[in-house]
Amino acid sequence: MAQTFTSYNSGISFAASKVMGGIYNRHASEILKIRRVGLINGQTAAVTGVLCNLEFRLTTGTPTWTSPVAGVLTKHDSTNTPPTTYDQGNSGTFSGGTSTALRRTNWSSDEAAVSGATMDEMECFIPLNIIFDAGYGDSNVQPLTLNQNQMAHVYNISGAAGLLDTWIEFTKE
């Protein structure tokens, strides 16, 4: 069983062309494997929401990701040792590489309200908003594997209102 970690990004403001949560492996021999990725609506105060266009992407070809804001990294076992050379978090400046969209979701960035049962509130259910899950117990299926200079990230293409939480569960091997 590989050392497992969760990277959590809380209250990330939507903006166009922004990394809302990502893992970048910079190490030559350590392999990071993305197991699960989830989102929830992070907006509580009233806001004029918009439709945001999110993609979960694999980016190869040595992309540039400078000055990311570190997310909260939790070791699933306190004896784990975090990856040696990598980045986890959100925002920063991202460019380059070759990106492939693995999942796409349109996201309402309006606040979750007490008086509704709309898309805004459905976005608060954790199981309904897991956008990538390779950890379902079938060892014949590879998780998303990050070799050196490869990145997996939730990328907001367009839409600039509201807040989003993202979490990424990954292993180091």
């Binding site: 497992t4 509704g116 259910f125």
Partner: protein, 191 residues
């Protein structure tokens, strides 16, 4: 061979004036055992007559939990009795820390890390019906599979592993309105 498996299930009555309340806790005090948490969930337990509000509960993974007062034990299902680990585990809800200086410090630990956040709508579940906007969301919040905060569902990743003086707290951290019931649970093994 399956490990001895337990469920700690809590029903918490929100009737507080502070802005942070512990609605579910599991702590390992023992150097001799390791707790492995496979599921964390919650559900709306308000039955009737409560004013609606939105709660924001944040689940923290904590280490260094010494200094926490005893918690209120809750139900245990599955095999064996929790009693044989007397003094080794604290679980339940509503326990509050010894020292409170501000809401953040009510989290009784040296190190806390936000692991999952979720919103929770606390309207009652039975009086509004499926067609009502209030009642519909509240009913979704009763469905256990919709309310999994965390699940380790495979053998390739680690469950949340609690060694000595490490614990999990589910903290309602935003709204202060009282008179709400929330259920939370932890499913874990002792190894």
């Amino acid at each position: 061979m399956a490990s001895d498996t337990y469920i700690s299930h809590n029903r918490t009555y929100h009737n507080i004036s502070t802005s942070v309340m512990n609605i579910g806790t599991l702590i390992n005090y023992s150097p001799d055992i390791i707790l492995k948490v496979y599921k964390i969930g919650f559900s709306n337990a308000a039955l009737k007559g409560f004013n609606a509000n939105t709660l924001l509960a944040k689940t923290f993974i904590c280490t260094g939990v010494k200094g926490f007062e005893p918690l209120i034990p809750s139900d245990i299902l599955h095999t064996n009795s929790i009693d044989k680990f007397n003094g080794g585990i604290a679980h339940g809800s509503s326990g509050m820390p010894v020292v409170v200086t501000n809401p953040e410090n009510q989290i009784p630990c040296v190190t806390k890390k936000l692991f999952r956040a979720f919103y929770y709508y606390s309207e009652e579940t039975l009086t509004s019906g499926w067609g009502g906007t209030y009642g519909l969301y509240a009913k979704y919040l009763m469905m256990p599979e919709y309310q999994l905060v965390y699940e380790c569902n495979n053998s390739q990743t680690q469950p949340i592993t609690l060694r000595q003086d490490e614990g999990i707290f589910i903290l309602n951290s935003v709204y202060t309105q009282s008179n709400k019931y929330t259920d939370t649970y932890f499913e874990f093994t002792i190894e």
